[in-house]
C-alpha cells in the first residue's frame, strides 16, 4: 500500500490509488477490445495515460474538456479518463501501423476523428463513448477474480504466477514486486517479458476461465498463488517490513474475495484461517527495537486476539470435505495461538500434525519442522536423529534454518561446543542482516571460550 502523508500532493495521491485499484482492469479491458495488439503496447499506453494524468490533472480545469469536472483538475471519473486516454493512444498506434496490420482494417476503418487528445474522444468512436466500461461498479470484483484465475495458468511456475498476479491483479509496480520477492527489478522485468509472450500467445487474459467447473480445476493453483504470496510476505528474510505486510494483506484480500463470491471451497476457508492465524502474530515477531524474536521469546499479548478468534471460526467451517495441507498448517498455527505460553504448547499434537503434513507433502523443509516439534514434545533423540539425517543432504547442509535449529536445540540441550559449531556455520548461510543479528544474539548467550572448553572435556 502506498503511504501518503497528510500534506501529500492530492493529484499524485489519487493517481497512486487509481493505479493500485485499476491498472490490471484497464489493461485487461483494452486487451479484450483489441486482441491483436501486443500486451506490451497496451501496458505502455496505460502507463503513458497515468503519466499524462500527472501533468494534465495538476493543471487548473479547462472548461472545454468534457471529461474533467469544472473547478478541479481531477476528472469526475478518473478510471474512465485513464481508459479513454490509453484507448486513444492505441487507436493512433493502430493507425500508424495500419498497413502492416492488414487484419485490423475492419476495425480501423470505423475509427475517425482526432484520437490523440482525451477531451474529444467520447463521441467520435461509436460504441466506446457511452459504453466505456463502468469503472465504479461491482463487476470489477468479478473481473479481478477472472484475472486471478487467468494467472493460475498450469504452464507457468508458481513464481511466475505470483509475479503476474501481483502485477495485473494486485496492481503492484515492478520495483515493489522486486522488493517484496527479494528479486532485482531486472529479474522481474525478464520474467514478465517471457510471461507477457505467453499471455499474448495463449490469450490468457481474454479467454474466460469458463464455467464454474472450469474455475474449479484451477482453484488449487489459485490457492497456491495466495498461499505462496502470503509466505513471501511473512518470511522475515526478504524485503522491508511494510512491503511484506502489504503482500500479506494482498493475499488475505484475494482469499476473502474468493469466499465472498462463493468461488472457494473448504480448502479456501482453511487457507484463509491459516493466513489469519499467522497475520495475527505479525507484530509479535520483532522486538520494539526491531530484532527478530523466536517463538519462545515473543510477547503473546501482542498477538491480535480478535483475528485469532475469527481464524478459529473459519477453521471450524472448513471441516467438511477432504483435508488439505492448509488444514494441517492452520491446525498447527491454531495450537500455537491458543497456548498461553511456549511451555504450555501442545507439542505432542503439533508433531503429529507435522507428520500428517509430511505424508501429504514429503520434503526436507517440512521434515525439519517435524524434527523441531519432536524436540519440544520431549522426543529429543529422534529429533536430533532426523536433523542429522537432513544435514547429510547436499542442499540442506548449507540451509540456514536447519543449522540455526541444530545450534539452538544443542544450546537448550547444554551441548555448548555443538551449539557453537552450528550457529557459527549459519553466519555465511544467510545474507539477511536480521537473521545474522539473531544468530549473534544466540552466540552471545554461550559461556565464554574457557568455560565451554572445560565442558567439552
Amino acid at each position: 500500500m502506498e503511504r501518503v502523508g497528510m500534506n501529500a500532493d492530492p493529484v499524485q495521491y489519487t493517481i497512486d490509488q487509481l493505479y493500485k485499484t485499476h491498472y490490471g482492469k484497464i489493461v485487461s479491458a483494452l486487451c479484450t477490445l483489441w486482441q491483436e495488439i501486443p500486451l506490451e503496447s497496451v501496458e505502455d499506453a496505460v502507463q503513458d495515460a497515468f503519466t499524462t494524468a500527472l501533468t494534465v490533472w495538476a493543471r487548473p480545469a479547462i472548461n472545454s474538456d468534457p471529461l474533467i469536472a469544472a473547478g478541479s483538475g481531477i476528472p469526475s471519473n478518473p478510471p474512465g479518463w485513464i481508459y479513454t486516454v490509453a484507448r486513444n493512444r492505441l487507436i493512433s498506434l493502430i493507425r500508424a501501423e495500419k498497413r502492416r496490420w492488414s487484419s485490423l482494417d475492419l476495425h480501423t476503418e470505423t475509427l475517425s476523428g482526432p484520437a490523440s487528445s482525451a477531451g474529444s474522444a467520447t463521441s467520435d468512436f461509436p460504441g466506446f463513448g457511452p459504453n466505456t466500461p463502468d469503472f465504479s461498479g461491482s463487476i470489477f470484483h468479478d473481473q479481478q477474480l477472472k484475472l486471478l484465475f487467468a494467472c493460475a495458468h498450469p504452464d507457468l511456475s508458481p513464481k511466475v504466477q505470483i509475479v503476474i498476479t501481483l502485477k495485473y491483479v494486485s496492481n503492484l509496480k515492478i520495483d515493489a514486486i522486486a522488493r517484496a520477492l527479494g528479486m532485482t527489478g531486472d529479474g522481474v522485468d525478464k520474467l514478465l517479458l517471457r510471461a507477457r509472450k505467453k499471455i499474448r500467445d495463449e490469450r490468457l487474459f481474454l479467454l474466460d476461465p469458463g464455467s464454474p467447473s472450469g474455475l474449479g480445476a484451477r482453484l488449487p493453483t489459485v490457492h497456491k498463488i495466495i498461499y505462496l504470496t502470503f509466505n513471501e510476505g511473512y518470511k522475515p528474510s526478504s524485503g522491508d517490513a511494510a512491503i511484506n505486510e502489504s503482500l500479506c494483506e494482498e493475499a488475505l484480500l484475494l482469499c476473502k474475495d474468493l469466499l465472498d463470491h462463493r468461488l472457494g471451497d473448504n480448502a479456501t476457508m482453511a487457507l484463509y484461517a491459516l493466513m489469519l492465524f499467522n497475520a495475527a502474530r505479525f507484530k509479535g515477531r520483532t522486538s520494539p527495537t526491531g530484532e527478530l524474536l523466536d517463538l519462545d521469546e515473543q510477547d503473546r499479548s501482542q498477538w491480535h486476539r480478535p483475528m485469532i478468534s475469527l481464524a478459529g471460526d473459519f477453521l471450524r467451517l472448513s471441516r467438511p470435505g477432504p483435508l488439505t495441507s492448509y488444514h494441517y498448517e492452520a491446525a498447527i498455527a491454531w495450537l500455537h495461538c491458543s497456548a498461553d505460553s511456549f511451555a504450555n504448547t501442545n507439542w505432542r499434537l503439533i508433531s503429529r500434525l507435522y507428520l500428517r503434513l509430511l505424508r501429504l507433502n514429503p520434503n526436507p523443509f517440512v521434515e525439519l519442522n517435524y524434527a523441531i516439534a519432536l524436540y519440544y514434545a520431549g522426543d529429543r533423540n529422534k529429533s536430533f536423529q532426523i536433523m542429522h539425517q537432513l544435514i547429510k543432504h547436499s542442499f540442506m547442509n548449507g540451509y540456514y534454518l536447519l543449522n540455526a535449529a541444530l545450534g539452538k536445540l544443542y544450546l537448550l540441550d547444554g551441548d555448548i561446543p555443538n551449539a557453537k559449531k552450528y550457529l557459527e556455520r549459519t553466519l555465511d548461510q544467510t545474507e539477511h542482516p536480521l537473521e545474522t543479528a539473531f544468530i549473534r544474539r544466540l552466540l552471545s548467550r554461550l559461556p565464554p571460550a574457557s568455560d565451554h572448553r572445560g565442558a567439552a572435556n
Binding site: 498450469p154 504452464d155 507457468l156 511456475s157 508458481p158 513464481k159 511466475v160 529479474g187 525478464k190 520474467l191 517471457r194 497456491k224 505462496l228 509466505n231 495441507s325 507433502n361 520434503n363 526436507p364 523443509f365 517440512v366 543432504h393 547436499s394 542442499f395 548449507g398 540451509y399 540456514y400 555465511d428 548461510q429 544467510t430 545474507e431
Partner: protein, 122 residues
C-alpha cells in the same frame, strides 16, 4: 503431475576457480530456489556433483572424463514434479545460475513406463 530431471550444465573450469565465498553464495541462492520449489510441492530430490569422475567410453576404455574441458558439463541435478514440460521449463528459467548467466539447465521429462497409449486405441 509428471516428473522431470533438471540437469545443471556449467563450465567446470570456471566452477573450479571460484573462491570459497563465491561458492558459498551460490549455495545460498540455489538453496533458496530449491526451498521455493519445495514450498510449492514440486521438489523431489537434488544433489550437486563434484568436478571430477571417470568416463567409460564405447570401447570400454576408461578415462578421467572429458568433463572439465567441456564448456557445459553436468554439475548437478534436480528432480521435480510439474504439471507439464512448460511448467518444468518455467522452473528452470528461475534457476539463479541461469539468471546470473553462469549455467544452463536441461529439462528432461522422466519416461513414464506405465503410460501405454495403445491401451486407448482398442
Amino acid at each position: 503431475m509428471e516428473k522431470f530431471l533438471l540437469l545443471i550444465r556449467e563450465d567446470l573450469q570456471f566452477r573450479a576457480n571460484m573462491t570459497p565465498a563465491e561458492f558459498q553464495h551460490n549455495i545460498v541462492i540455489m538453496t533458496k530456489w530449491v526451498e521455493d520449489m519445495a514450498r510449492s510441492g514440486n521438489f523431489l530430490n537434488a544433489d550437486p556433483l563434484t568436478n571430477s569422475g571417470t568416463y567409460v567410453g564405447h570401447n570400454a576404455v576408461l578415462s578421467d572424463g572429458p568433463f572439465i574441458e567441456a564448456k557445459e558439463s553436468i554439475s548437478g541435478f534436480i528432480l521435480i514434479q510439474a504439471e507439464s514440460l512448460e511448467q518444468a521449463t518455467s522452473f528452470a528459467q528461475l534457476c539463479p545460475l541461469v539468471l546470473n548467466g553462469t549455467a544452463a539447465v536441461e529439462v528432461r521429462p522422466i519416461m513414464d513406463m506405465e503410460q501405454k497409449p495403445w491401451k486407448e486405441w482398442v
